[in-house]
Amino acid sequence: MLEFLTFESNETKMALPVEAVASIFEAVAFHPSKIERQGILGDFNLHGEMIPVLNLDRHWKREPKAINLESQIIVLRLNEGRIAIVADDVKGTIKVEPENVTNLNEILPQGIDSNPHSLTVYENEIYFVLDIEGLLDQKIGDLLHA
């Protein structure tokens, strides 16, 4: 069975592999950027380590949703460091069989841009399963190395 942390982001139900989740914090502890940085909302100070907070809305060209007191920061463990994303509402964990996770490339037409993310169904709800490594572009990769 695969275990995922589920949350909502801008009205989309999302899931992350639990092994990629380092910790979850309240968004009030987040420092928004005074200067716009490509795809980054700001930084999260985790015991002295400044972790970039990825702007999922900008990355996905969605109408941005304001961060509020109920928002939470999910810190993710990557191959090359840590990054964080903002969740509107962290729900909990779910377990699904691997065969019930469908890569988007298997259902979207051939020939369009390859998509690293997947979908799964749990209790009749569709969850967008994030491949965080697949989200990162060169600029964000550079930030992690900075």
Partner: protein
């Protein structure tokens, strides 16, 4: 003999070969995915299976509209993958002899054929469909 499911989008008639047809469903609320192609209306859960639902209006170059309760989703399969096709109205299943389709293809108002290829929806002129 060609058996076709006739359907309409904003008064424009299209046909889907019944060999593709899995089922027809009332339109349901779809889940949208970040960065989904603009010709995809969203995804739906069909008894545990996730399907991409294609917006026939986009494929046909027609004006977009919100999904209405009266819309239908045609679930189609080419034997490899299933997908949904969002349409305004289902008309009927009709059978056509080859010569009837040929005569229809000569009309300026000939309906076009919806086919599936490479997990995508293609719209084909009746003449091209007959030539294949």
């Amino acid at each position: 003999m060609h058996e076709l499911l006739m359907l309409a989008i904003e008064g424009t008639v299209f046909a889907v070969p019944t060999s593709y047809l899995v089922e027809v469903l009332p339109a349901v609320a779809l889940s949208t995915m970040p960065l989904q192609p603009d010709f995809i209306s969203g995804v739906m859960n069909l008894r545990g299976e996730v399907l991409a639902v294609h917006d026939m209006r986009k494929h046909a170059g027609l004006a977009a509209k919100e999904i209405e309760e009266t819309d239908k989703i045609v679930v189609a399969s080419d034997g490899k993958i299933k997908l949904g096709i969002l349409v305004d109205k289902i008309e009927a299943v009709q059978r056509f002899k080859e010569e009837q389709l040929f005569a229809q293809s000569l009309s300026p108002r000939a309906f076009r054929i919806i086919e599936l290829k490479d997990r995508n929806v293609l719209i084909k002129d009746l003449q091209d469909y007959l030539d294949d």
